[in-house]
Symmetry: D3
């Protein structure tokens, strides 16, 4: 613990690397957690496996 | 919110599209939720990553 | 399978009952699934355990 | 999206508030995400519902 | 890793204790994992938060 | 129920097969559950989708 699971659109490795570091630091600073105790899982989901407002992401025009 | 996560066997896009629409409508009608607030995630799992009764799906004869 | 997990604000039992029925029917009609194979889990989360936009739900004025 | 689910020991509201803010800022800065699109769920688990190394948390002497 | 999340009906602590031990041993013996790397989370769900076959658990006559 | 979700590094099918059997037996013996009621999901995650201590798995030297 703590275990962090992120459901997100695919991102490149460098972005995930930076995000994992930032999230882990947040647990260290706010909770006083040891960095080693923090695990982060990235579940990447594309627009054919996610819907909002009843429409699949692949059918929604991106802004 | 609400966030709906579905663990299922792989289905084609058109089936997921119809299911996401139906589920979103259910939240609108039963909960009075705004469609835009409903997100649906499809986690598709094949028979090599799922077991029932102690047997992997790929080892279970399908009906 | 399929397993449906819903993260939502607390709702009364009758609303969950109706929603579970509607969702199960959607799987029957769209996927041809047997009703008995569909399980729905409700994870109810209050505003002290959920944040959006960096603010805890309990700090966000409700519309 | 993105949806962040945190499994953790219980923490007080102020700590969760600060953590949610920090995590949301990380998504804004690293991914360029809009803050409004980031949701964070806290699943708090006590030592009677979590085990490590085959021992329930409530049986493990805390450091 | 590995992280094991169990969605189940409520059980008493002694049963969860024994189950966590058995599951952890399975990872040690089958995967060669270190016991310390295995975490087990119990998400207990009652019949008002779970449905099968479109019926809430609390409405299903138990066998 | 019960539903078991395992987040783990990729393993070959034979290892998952043996683990699923062992876990299912544990539920039968400890809880008195029917084997058929136990479902196990394997979510395999590689080192580019998991971090510990703020470092992506692919950046951590394996022991």
């Amino acid at each position: 613990m703590p275990i962090v699971t992120i459901q997100q659109f695919p991102r490149d490795l460098e972005q995930k690397r930076r995000l994992a570091r930032r999230i882990t630091e947040a647990f260290e600073e706010v909770y006083g957690a040891r960095a080693e105790s923090v695990q982060v899982f990235f579940h990447e989901v594309d627009g054919e496996h996610w819907a909002r407002g009843g429409e699949m992401g692949c059918d929604i025009p991106r802004d």
